[in-house]
Amino acid sequence: MNPIEIMVSYWPRMLDGTLMTLKLTILGALIAGAISPWLALVRSHGSLIAQTPIRIYVSFVRGTPILAQLFLVFYGSGQFRPELMELGLWNFFRDPFNCAILVFVLNSTAYQTEIMRGGIQGVNLGEIEAAKAIGMTRMTILRRVIFPHAYRIAWPALSNEIILLMKASALASVVTVFDIMGRTRQIFSKTFDFSIYLWAALIYLAITSLFVFGWHRIERRLNRHILPRNNANAVS
């Protein structure tokens, strides 16, 4: 078969895999994105006692391969099956998709926490003081001043993290989740035609490019206030 024929006959499976990759990445990034700002706050403003567990967690995640973490959760949960059943958690862990998501969330949360910590610490203290002086509550200051600035600062680094997460999601295929990589290996084992790997690479590349394009547009919008004056009006 030539490369076109292989895609013509297997595109539904590749599409399926693509959707799975997107699901793993988006879900993982979003859940991590909901948790990490709060951990980042503790990390930048919390007491030493509150910071310590987060520090340990982040160094653990950063210092171990994501594949090892995946095996740890996937095979580890099998090991503790009776205990997990007792806790009513077995139903969650028996599904490899859930194990994969759990690992990606734990992973991305750690990295996003570090990124957001940098963002939060980069917020101009004067603007926070102005918010206090006008009578805003802590929560309002977070919502209206700290997070808006922190996200602007963190934005480019968050983009990198999400791309890395998407590429790491290919590891899910080793615990039998059929993402792009899982489908590709499946098709290869039938056809022994390596061109399907080229297609897989192209799909990853396409997703990354589209993502970078969209992310960059949002970035320009967020940074209207620091663009040169003429550009500021041009961005709508």
Binding site: N124, G126, E127, A131, A133, I134, G135, L222, H225, R229
Partner: protein, 254 residues
């Protein structure tokens, strides 16, 4: 709430002390501001002017002392404030204008002025907008409502900061060297706005190095030296007959 005496002070600070570590920076400062007072605080660099001003709205918590704003009292002992209302309620009655302007850079001029009205005073967007536009006009920036702070000159930014404080209708406004970060040619436009506020009868406490402002606009001058009030009085008597050597030297150095 203590019943208000209409001629009494709207802002009182009583025996404010503040230490950073072992260093006592404020050594018992008291000050009363009545309605329409414009009080200039003078003093050499490091004398504690900013720290004192920041103790009034608790951006800095005094080590001890008492602040009474409009009948609400905050008593601090050993760095622990005791207050009958949340600190935010006190702060929103005191405006503050900073040396570095501290506008919210991600918001336009209009949004900066509307922000406190919406998120602190809980006004509707429409109402906030018309109040904000009114005060922006008041400082002469109606043409720039949609500009971001980064696209304005320092003088314009400081005028926006003043509009932002005014829009909250505070009982008093605290200014911490509002013209010190400005290029000399921009100082005038900010002082002019401040002078017109004084003429309107706004209560202002101003830390400044602008002797002309202290002399001509303020109703009272306070001279701080090493964390203490060394001298205070009307500008006329203070500048005509300075009592302490320190204040004499200070005026001479200006």
């Amino acid at each position: 709430m203590i019943p208000m005496d209409p001629s009494g002070p709207i802002l009182s600070a009583i025996d404010i002390r503040k230490s950073f570590g072992d260093v006592e920076v404020l050594k018992g400062i008291s000050l009363d501001a009545k309605k329409h007072d414009v009080i200039s605080i003078l003093g050499a660099s490091g004398s504690g002017k900013s720290t004192f001003l920041r103790c009034l709205n608790f951006l800095e918590t005094p080590t001890s002392g008492k602040v009474i704003i409009h009948g609400d009292e905050i008593n601090v002992q050993n760095g622990q404030p005791k207050m009958s209302v949340p600190i935010e309620d006190i702060r929103k009655r005191l405006g503050m204008v900073f040396q570095q302007f501290n506008l919210w850079t991600h918001r336009t001029v209009l949004e900066n002025v509307m922000e406190g009205l919406i998120h602190v005073r809980k006004k509707s967007r429409g109402e906030a907008r018309s109040i904000a536009e009114n005060y922006i006009e008041r400082v002469g920036l109606s043409q720039r409502v949609d500009a971001y702070p980064g696209h304005l000159s320092g003088g314009q930014q400081q005028r926006v900061a003043i509009a932002r404080a005014l829009a909250m209708e505070p009982d008093a406004i605290l200014f911490d060297e509002p013209t010190s970060a400005l290029d000399p040619e921009l100082v005038g436009e900010v002082l002019k706005v401040m002078q017109s506020l004084a003429e309107e009868g706004r209560t202002m406490i101003v830390v400044t190095h602008e002797m002309a402002f202290a002399r001509e606009v303020s109703s009272e001058v306070v001279f701080l030296h090493q964390g203490k009030v060394l001298e205070k009085g009307t500008p006329d008597e203070m500048f005509a007959t300075p009592k302490s050597e320190e204040f004499k030297r200070f005026i001479a150095s200006m």
